[in-house]
Subunit: 414 residues, 2 copies
């Protein structure tokens, strides 16, 4: 089968087998990931799901418990007779990360506990204006400090990550393009890390990529190994999970679906090109087509108003949605041919647009996507909604904890 | 960094650490892959490249030697004093696979030795007509039998795989779409395996996907983890390597780049849509634009004739190439925005088209691809040329040998 390219995977060509210590670290991470993503799990379930024997599970759980990452409890109730299997729970109240979201219309910060529990959250509206690094990082760090003052003494912050709309260079996490970016190179994570003063690096990811990871790990795309997440705000972004991996690209800019040209010679796009998906289906395209572009009319509410007007029979709104839905459908058809995904997820303002133009999208798919690729395709809207980017940022912040649980905690407690 | 999505990789969530036996198998495969892809390698180099100690390398080599997969030899000459390190060579003359290529204009079969050495090859022209399963598999199996009769008694065939133009369903290797396919479901591998009568399954892959793997493992894309291979024949196909893995998609149909719509409402495509990349830049589009479409004018020679005419100053040919180059460039720009690849490779007739229209392709990239994505992009032509599909099929056939060297050889010798 062509589906499994393992023999040509470069990393495997070069890597030797893991040592016993590597295996222990791998298994500690795997167990922690189980309870982080799946919630409280009995030892018996872990034994069967992880394919390890009971004594290994016990030893791993004991290590993670000693490190303060999980605790074991008797289950509330069991339907069965006999001694119940202990349940392993993540220490959500004690071990947490900071997740930041720099959206076009809001700034949000959440304190997220191991297991993905949002423990505390702050957000504020943001003007759509220039990207003032000092002002933005200052506001975000201020929120984090407020939340931190309210935590108990035994809590420990193990990571921090931010979602930004724009391109994030893989090599160093620097933001290199995005709406209203004043400089060519914005060291957002570095500056936010400095202002936080926690001695922790702040990872940075593209918002649509992180939302895709969030839907893949905790949303509508759980267990879906090939999915495309399309995110609409002012711009159109994307996050692609291919074979279970986020498609990062050579420099980290993979998934810039919004700048696929669907209509050559079409509407001018902010990127300098014409007829990009973003230019044809973004917020401005919809509002202009609906005759509603202008002062004070922007953001999710303005988009929702168009969809509602169309529902009520407003012909101009209907035609605008229909036009935008046609281009959206053509864009999705192209992606379906290229990627053969199992699922396409519409998030941000594209959730409303899709719900208001599903017929157009499906028609374009029938016209332009190849039958074998579309037969088993599922179209869905985001399950996490506007929380997707924050949830994704939290997962990014937890990534190194799950990769090496003990090392991270040892450092945090030092 | 967002580039590494490991924490959300499903397979890792579920999988426990490897056993000692798994590690041995992994290392045997890794060592064999080293010499299969890299050629004869000294024990000292293997020790340093694989990060294992000398005694482990010696034990692994000894196992592979006993199995007849590699042999150790004194190097021809060394520039240094002291006892030279033994060189480990793949047993290319003894261990081989059959690779088949069902192209639109030819059928080819190669007997390929471990290490990628083409030991013997047959090919024949093919009429562009219906896909006669019985006739095609009969001809291919006949070639294989001829070659097999010429082999020494101690040789062993360890695998077989075929490249076909068309869609190959991941679940069962059945060909489900393709040019001139008469049935909806063609069990090509099963039928070829039956006719070969070697007791071996025949893996089947899409030709452009296999050519992409070939360029990635032995061609211009070695060590390039993110590349797009564009293949032109009658149709336009693609193979995408993302993060070192072939993009297979949910059902195995990933990479159908030829059916991305670049020109809505444009030329009618064989798939039923309009303005697909294939419709705008395929062989027929070029020959028609150049006023050369008709009886007897088809295939690589006809394409080459257009490029040569343009070189000599033929204005009609120049305009045809320019038009096709514009659409090709727009398609590549879209792919660059979506994937952020390190390299785009032009193969098949697109090699000639690209060489004849590189200026147009580059102009479209500048107009439509985002600067950070195109800054480090390399555009290349196929290094393996028309051998790419056969080389890729051979790699597919060797895949399971490299995954578990001893098991495969034990079965082959039984």
């Amino acid at each position: 089968m062509i589906g499994d390219p393992q023999p040509l995977k470069e990393s495997q060509t070069m890597r030797a087998g893991p040592s016993q210590e590597d295996i222990r670290r791998h298994n500690l991470g795997a167990l922690l990931r189980h309870v982080h993503l799946g919630g409280p799990t009995s030892r018996a379930e872990l034994t069967s799901k992880m394919g390890l024997n009971r004594s290994t599970i016990m030893a791993l759980t004991s290590d993670l418990t000693a490190a303060g990452l999980v605790r074991e409890e008797l289950p509330r109730e069991t339907g069965r007779a006999g001694r119940p299997s202990l349940v392993v729970r993540p220490e959500s109240a004690r071990v947490y990360v900071f997740a930041f979201d720099v959206g076009p219309d809001r700034l949000a910060v959440a304190r997220v506990g191991l297991g993905g529990v949002i423990l505390d959250q702050r957000e504020t509206a943001r003007r759509r204006s220039a990207f003032e690094l000092d002002e933005l990082t200052g506001a975000l760090a201020g929120f984090a400090r407020q939340m931190r003052r309210k935590t108990r003494d035994d809590t420990v912050c193990v990571g921090a990550a931010a979602a930004v709309s724009g391109g994030v260079r893989k090599a160093d996490g620097v933001v290199t393009f995005g709406p209203n970016l004043k400089a060519d190179e914005v060291p957002f994570g570095e500056e936010l890390g400095r202002k936080l003063g926690l001695g922790l690096p702040v990872s940075v990811g593209n918002d649509a990529n992180l939302a895709a990871l969030a839907e893949h790990s905790r949303g509508v795309g759980v267990a879906v190994r090939d999915l495309i997440y399309l995110h609409g705000d002012v711009g159109i972004g994307g996050g692609i999970i291919a074979g279970g991996h986020l498609l990062g690209g050579h420099d980290g800019y993979g998934g810039e679906i919004g700048h696929m040209v669907v209509n050559p010679g079409g509407r001018v796009c902010g990127c300098g090109s014409r007829g990009c998906l973003e230019a044809e289906v973004g917020e401005r395209a919809l509002l202009e087509s609906a005759g509603r572009f202008g002062a004070g009319q922007q953001g999710r509410d303005a988009v929702r108003a168009v969809v509602e007007a169309a529902d009520r029979g407003d012909i101009v709104a209907q035609e605008a949605l229909s036009r935008v839905g046609d281009w959206l459908g053509l864009g999705v058809a192209n992606l379906v041919n290229i990627f053969n995904p199992e699922m396409v997820i519409f998030g941000g303002m594209l959730r409303e647009v899709y719900l208001g133009s599903a017929a157009q999208v499906r028609t374009q798919l029938t016209l332009h996507a190849m039958a074998p690729q579309r037969e088993r395709l599922r179209l869905r809207t985001s399950a996490l909604g506007d929380a997707a980017t924050l949830v994704g940022a939290a997962e990014l912040a937890f990534a190194h904890v799950l990769a090496d649980p003990l090392e991270v905690l040892a450092r945090a407690n030092a």
